[in-house]
Amino acid sequence: MTEVEIIRDRGPRNYSRRKFIKGVIAAGATVSASSYLFRGPGVLTAGQARGGVERLMTLTVNGQQRRVDVLPYETLAMTLRYKLGLTGTKLGCDRAECGACTVHIDGVTHYSCSMLTHQVRGREIRTIEGLESPDGELHPVQQAVMDEGGFQCAFCAPGFIMSMAAFVEDNPSASRAQCAQALSGNLCRCGDYNKILDSAERAVELMGQRA
């Protein structure tokens, strides 16, 4: 395993050098990852000035209320994956480019890697885990992807499916070109776009049948 050094923080809050094992994070070990997340300053000065944030918060995720301790500078993708265990949401680029981390906030798609968890307080978060109905019936988009075999490696699939779901729910008679535009914020490195668009078209069809 390789040891990797994190760039040291500068300025008054200059901690001792923090190290962690990259391999542990890569393996997706939730416990290690969250201990890394919590390795920030023990007490932040939130609340000193008006508008400072309270770390303990309740998030509405997939219809459930989840209490969670969130650092002020923590992204939603980090909270979902490493604190709430919702690892269906993937982190690809972490730079608002690839779309693997796409989730719905109040029914609208967002890159969860590029928003702070504190920005979604009080809003409805839906992740790939919350797409199927409580009785286990797949969302039309999920069914469409299964019907069409829409992805190869499928790392990008949760993000694509979330983008597709938000779009077909609002546009149940969308064309292939419109689907392509709606999915333009998601990248597939396998280059499987044709089958992804086949799935999108199938999803539109299934939405139409359901309506």
């Binding site: 390789t2 990797v4 050094e5 994190i6 760039i7 923080d9 500068r10 300025g11 809050r13 990259k22 994070i25 890394y36 997340l37 920030g40 300053p41 932040l44 000065t45 939130a46 000035a49 008006r50 508008g51 400072g52 944030v53 650092l71 002020p72 500078y73 923590e74 992204t75 980090m78 982190l91 972490d94 730079r95 608002a96 779309g99 796409t102 609208v108 798609t109 967002h110 890159y111 890697c113 590029s114 928003m115 702070l116 504190h118 920005q119 983008s163 779009f167 535009q181 709606a182 333009s184 914020g185």
Partner: protein
């Protein structure tokens, strides 16, 4: 040594509920504060450890900063209004379609859902040397890496260089200039209104800023006057990738024609200078003329006069010329 860049380094986060509270925080933290709108650009800076604010002031909780409302025969747009809303709002689509088109051409659906009009207007340059954390002029250093002899400068400026050769990447900025928009900038000592054209500044005025706004300033409203409502608009953004990308050259124009003659015109181009350029000379050349291809070519020629391309970006001249030409003749 590998560098882990998956967490934003520690800083404080404030979510004020009013403009007054936000301004107090900006005054309190001064240059160590960071105004957060959509955050799409901000988080990259933070994750890369290149910008290290002590306090982030998130404007998302300030209701008066978002939304679109009528103001006489024009509109007032809150800077925190999302680009999706700007691109789809009936008043903007119907009367100021130029701005709707510009907003629609920004990045991806997810980014438009979160990114704001104010953030898009006030965004920083994409110069990759500056973005990469190199200590260039814009970053407070004393060299421009992008104009060095072997520099990669295909996406840099052909006008307005002053030590720095970076460009303004905003898609909506040229549309605000073409619509004669005004920017309301507020700080703790009051409110100042700038014409869009004066809001954006080049390195000759201040090499570290893209707009007139200094630490402690907030963009609090974007006013679109009724002047150009329902005019003939043209918007075209040229980029390397069709799907989504930053602009290489973008043109935004508004014209009024009657009796086969252009009565009045605004033409603005972005991607060619450190600020969105208004092409006054080209405008004067087309007013009173018929919107023909010949006049378009003439306007394009005027537009690229005095350009000073760098080693790798001379392609921007024919690109700019042809975009101006299309903008003029599109009104036929």
């Amino acid at each position: 040594m590998a560098v882990i860049r998956d967490m934003i380094p520690p800083c404080e986060l404030f979510q004020p509920a009013s403009i007054g509270d936000a301004l107090n925080l900006l005054d309190q933290y001064g240059e160590n504060s960071w105004v957060l709108a959509g955050g799409l650009d901000s988080f990259d800076w933070f994750k890369d450890r290149i910008k290290r604010p002590e306090a982030i002031v998130d404007l998302g909780g300030i209701e008066e900063l978002s939304g679109i409302r009528a103001d006489g025969d024009g509109l007032v747009i809150g800077p925190m209004t999302s680009l999706t809303e700007v691109a789809t709002h009936p008043d903007i689509v119907g009367r100021f379609g130029l701005l709707a088109q510009a907003a629609e051409h920004v990045a991806t659906p997810q980014i438009r859902n979160q990114g704001t009009l104010g953030g898009n207007l006030a965004q920083d340059t994409r110069c990759w040397y500056y973005r990469g954390g190199w200590p260039c002029y814009r970053a407070g250093g004393n060299i421009c890496y992008a104009s060095a002899p072997k520099a990669m400068n295909a996406e840099h400026c052909v006008f307005g260089a002053s030590r720095c050769v970076a460009i303004n990447p905003s898609d909506t900025a040229p549309a605000t200039i073409a619509l004669d928009a005004q920017m309301v900038v507020t700080n703790s000592s009051g409110e100042t209104v700038y014409d869009a054209e004066d809001f954006f500044i080049g390195p000759g005025i201040d090499i570290e800023r893209m707009t007139v706004m200094e630490p402690g300033d907030l963009l609090t409203a974007i006013r679109i006057p009724g002047t150009w409502a329902g005019a003939d608009f043209y918007f075209e953004k040229i980029r390397d990738r069709q799907s989504w990308d930053f602009s290489l050259v973008t043109v935004a124009s508004a014209m009024r024609t009657s009796g086969g003659t252009i009565q009045d015109a605004r033409i603005s181009v972005n991607g060619v200078a450190p600020y969105p350029m208004r092409l006054d000379e080209a405008e004067r050349a087309v007013i009173g003329q018929a919107p023909t291809d010949d006049i378009g070519v003439a306007a394009g020629d005027i537009a690229i006069r005095r350009a000073q391309p760098l080693r790798h970006n001379a392609y921007k001249l024919p690109l700019m010329k042809n975009l101006v030409r299309r903008a003029v003749r599109a009104e036929v």
